[in-house]
Structure formats: C-alpha cells, structure tokens
Symmetry: none
DNA sequence: AATGAATGAGTTTTCATTCAT
DNA sequence: TATGAATGAAAACTCATTCAT
C-alpha cells in the first residue's frame, strides 16, 4: 500500500503500473494479487485508509477543546482541518477526485462524512446561540468546499506559501462571517 | 470534438477509445489524426472550447446589468455561474479534475480566469463602498470553491433537486454574509 | 483425488486450479504436492484409478456367465460395458480424450486393454464356432468405437433417454449382425 | 488461420500461444485481434472451416455415383470418408474432441451433420430394398463411431499402416454385415 | 506430515498511433 | 483530404510450484 501510494502520487494512478508497484515494494507480482483483487481494489483500500487516518486526526484535535465553548471548538476544528489537509491534499485529490469519472461513486464517503459532521456542529452551535445559520446542510457544503479549495490552492503555492497560522486565521475569519458570529 | 465529448462523459476519458470516437463521428481513424495530434490533444481542445464557451456566457449575462449597481451585478454574476455550471459541471469536472493528475497543470486555466475575475470584482466593489473585503484574492478562491462545490452537489442530487432560483438565492445569501454587505 | 475428479468434471481440467482442488479437499496447497508431483500427475493417477475400476467391474460381471455359452458371455459383456460406461462416460472422455493432445499418449491404455480383451473373445468365439469373424483385431476396434460412441450419445441425451435395457438390446443386435451370429 | 492450425496440431491448443501464432504468421499481435476476438474465436473459425471442407469433399466424391445403385453409393461414401478422414483425423480430433470439455457443446455440429446424412442414406436404402436396417438413427451413430475410431486407429498406426484400399474394403465389409446387405 | 505465503514466468488482451494507398 | 489495415509496446492478471516454518 505504501509503495502504491507513493507511486500514485508521483506518476498518477493510471501511469503507475502494477509492475512498478511490486518492484517498488520488493515483492512479486503474484503477491500483489494475493492481497488485492485488482488495481482498483488497491485504490479503494488506500481510500479507506485515508478516511480513517483523516477522521482520527480531526477527532484527536477537537478532543482537547471545551465542549461548550463553540468559538474554541471551531478554532480547533479549523486547525485540525488545515493541519491535516495541508499534509495530504495531494493524496486526497488523487484518491477522491481523479480516477476514472464514476459519476455515481463521486462525492465520496470521505467528503460526506466531513460535511455531515460540519453540518451537525453548525446546527448545535445555532441551537446553543453561538451563531445563526439558516440552512446548516447547504452551509456545510459551501464551507467544506471553500476550505478544501483554499487549502488546495495553498498546497499548490510554490513560493511565498502562507504559514499555517495565517491560513487558519483566514479561514476562521471567513467562517465567522458566514455564520454571522457575534 | 462533439463525439469525443459525448463519449468521454459517458465512459470516462480513459475508457473511451479513439476507435469509439471515430466510429461515433463516422470518420476513419486516420482522419482523427489529421485534426488532432493525439488523444490528449483532443482533451486539450475540449478544455479550450469549454473555457471559451463558459466565459462568453458569463460575460453575456453580466452585460445587461447596471455597472455601478454592485448588488445587481453580483446577482447577475451568480445567476450566470449557476445557470452555466448546472449545465456543465460534469463536463467541467471531467476536463479539469479527472485525467492523469498532472500537479503542474492542476488549478487550471479555467479556474484561474474565473477566480481572477471574481477577485477583481470584489476589489472594485470594496473600493466603491458596496461591501468590505479584506483579502480579495483569498476570498475569491474561497467563494469560487464554495460555489463550485455546492453546484457540484446540486448537479449530483438525483431527487428533490432544488430549483435554479433557490440555488441562486442560497448562494446570494452566502455571498452577502461573506462580503459583509450592508 | 475425489475433489480433483469432481472439479475436473465440473469445470474441465484446465479451468480447475490446484487452488480450487485443495480448497475443496480441505487441505493446504503444500499437502497436494506431498502426494502428487504435479497437476498432470493427479490426472495420471485418476486415469489409472479409472482403468482399474472399469476393468474390475467388467470382470465381475462376466464372471457369473457360463464360460462355454458364448451368447450368454457376450450378453454379460455388453451389459457390463453399458452399465459401467453409462455411469462414467463423462469422466472417461475427460481423462482420455480431452487434455492437451499428446499424439503419442492418445489411443490410451484404457482403450487398448478393452479392445484387446474384446479381440480375444472374438477369436475364441470364432474358434468355438459361436460366430464367424475374419479380422478380430479390426472388428474389435470397430465394435469398441461403435459402442463407445453410442453410449456417449445416450449419456448426452437429455430427454427421452432410452433405458439401459433398450440400449443393451440395440448393441446386442448390432453385435450379432457384425459377427454374423447364427 | 493456417499458422494457428499448424501450431495447434504441433503443440496442442492450450500450449500454442497467440504469441507463437502471430510469430509464425509473420504479423503483429494486434493484427490477430483485428480478425479474431480471442483464441477461442480462432478455434471456432477453424472448426467451421473444417466442417465446410469436409462436407464439400464428401459431396464431391459421392456425386459421381449412380443414385439408384446403393451398393455403389455406399462404396463411394465409404471411400470419401476414408480418404478425407485419413488426411485430417488429427485435426478433427484436435478441433472436436480436445478443447476444454464443454459438455453442452460436445457431439458437435460436424458429427451431427454426418450422422444425420448417414441415417438418411440408410433409411432411403432400406426403402429402396437395398438392405434392411431397423433403427437407422442408432445404426448411423454406431457406424459413424465405428468408422471414426477405426480410422483414428489407422492414422495412429506407425508401421505396417494398411493401404487406403484395404481400409475401405474392411469398412465396406463391416457395413455390409451391419445392414444385412444381401 | 502439513501448512500457506510467496513466487514470477507466461498469457491474453488493449489501443494509441502510423502510413501506404 | 480521407482511409483503415497493421502495428507492437505495455498492461493486467493467473496459477503451478516452492519452501521456510
């Protein structure tokens, strides 16, 4: 899986052959097929691993926050997302946005989970009076993609890449305006 | 090009062979290579055509608005984006987000152009006192991806798909909050 | 061996993998190679087992007949062949007629044994004045294949399959004509 | 097709790879797949070609006989079968008896055609009073397989191979006895 | 005696691209 | 300008066999 992930990142999924992967992993071709039914199966396994790792990291981060301090919780959430994404946007995009256009499968589990989590938080915060959000589901979608796109952009920036702190601040401010936080 | 576009949408770029395309177009294989250097070249041509069509449509829409009425201009802009995207997200994603992950090429021309245009408008609107945006470039990026993601989501929704009007209203409201329009 | 025989019959020799066989037999791959040198070796073992079983059954049947009553002996012989073949034509064809065409090995031991036995009987019967056969070797070959083909045909017949008795009668009558039995 | 036929005869169907075939035919691998969908498809094409050739040769032979002289017609028929089979038993067995045991497909078209033809002749001859055959269908099957097996045997005989003439005479005599020709 | 993970040579098949007509 | 037969490199996948445990 590590060899596959590395090669997929380097050359793209289509361009990395099973041959390349097993050579990099120092195993025989048959060994690959002992553990994965096909190349697609490996991609699926990598997707699963990505989602698990990602969600564990977000959870770890948020844990430390005071559950009733919504401002702090969102701060932590945004920090978690930024830190985690910046280290893995390439992989995320590779696994969830490239591949061969399977309309049905698109808008993948990974995103769904995060978006749903975000919507839940927005609703809870509204009920707690921390802010005012009329359509939490749609807002979650808009925020998710805004953040994702921005982090994609930052990750792609070669020179004068802004600091993590600056990115967090920018997203925090964007978030505040969107939820009309007082 | 039409045959290619149709088949790419149906089966994905990798899965649609030149053979399929020329058969659909009712020409011989050689004829294809008379007009395109390679399969990639066709994809590039489709990308170019997409960008042109897209930008012409946005411009057409906005033209009718009163240049000094920023509220109306943004309304028109959002309407244009929604109308145009809803009819072509699939194609857009196919051409600009799938394919073989060429990190360099990513964050494509298409997006850059629109994001730059949006940033310019945000800046001008701020200068005209229509709203207040501190970091127009970053805000443009955030807005662009928020909109794009939301439209992607809507396009993918199978049942109870919201009306264009409702989508425009949602995005308009999101926009207002983000730019702290008074 | 049983698992192999069953799977070979179900899927064909080439299509049944060692993996399938050991899984069906509930043993490990290594265990297979403890008892058989190769897949071919298993096929050879099945062939041997088939010939032994077949010839024992024929012998058992004929034993009960009066050795000097040729008419009865042939009746018993034909009964034995019909009974035995009808239960195993598929296996017989699988083991002796499919496989990878090794011209040398063809016209296999199994057939040779039976044909020789038949020729001997024809000769003995002629000497005993029971019938008149000029070229016993050739006649044995002709009879063997006639019987084998007919039984193959019957075994393959799906609906309105004739009874064993009817088949025996048909073959008996064919035999009589061929040996010009009076 | 010629290269395939030659190699299949030499090494067996399974052992002859597409690679071998295209090398022998002096064409590229792709060319093979331009004309045949798969290896099986080539085998099917060879089967078809075999049946056509075979039946044309039988028909050519019989044509010369006097239609009302049944003795002569059968003589011609047997001559045709012997001549034709002796030159192609190996190929016939390869195409129709080896392969991967497809119970349903067995007892192939080739045989069916010939057996049916033979049954028709037996019936017509009986009606014309040339001989007496009670069950023409079954007799045809028995005769077909007797002949086929005998010719197989002759073709396989390495030393002291009997002459075509001798084989024809043997089969002719066998036939006479079976149909109780007077 | 039994196991089963690992092997890798070998096979079929695909398809973008070329080029003589 | 158009054709389409021919190409062949490259890819995915299979499976009989081995051998350290």
């Amino acid at each position: 899986m590590d060899a596959g992930e590395r090669l997929f990142l380097e050359k793209g999924i289509a361009a990395a052959s099973i041959d390349d992967i097993v050579r990099a992993a120092n195993v025989a071709k048959g060994t690959f097929y002992l553990y994965f039914q096909s190349k697609d199966d490996l991609v699926a396994a990598l997707r699963e691993r990505y989602v698990e790792t990602f969600q564990r990291r977000i959870a770890d981060y948020e844990e430390a926050a005071n559950p009733s301090d919504w401002s702090q919780r969102m701060q932590r959430f945004i920090e978690a997302v930024v830190e985690t994404y910046l280290g893995s946007v390439e992989l995320h995009d590779l696994l969830f946005h490239s591949a061969d256009h399977h309309p049905e499968r698109r808008a993948s589990q990974s995103e769904e989970g995060i978006v749903r989590g975000l919507a839940d938080r927005l609703k809870a915060g509204t009920e707690a009076g921390a802010w005012r959000v009329e359509d939490p589901e749609m807002t979650a979608i808009l925020l998710y993609h805004a953040f994702h796109g921005a982090l994609d952009h930052v990750a792609m920036t070669k020179k004068r890449k802004p600091s993590t702190k600056a990115v967090v601040a920018t997203l925090r401010s964007f978030f505040s305006r969107v939820v009309q936080q007082t």
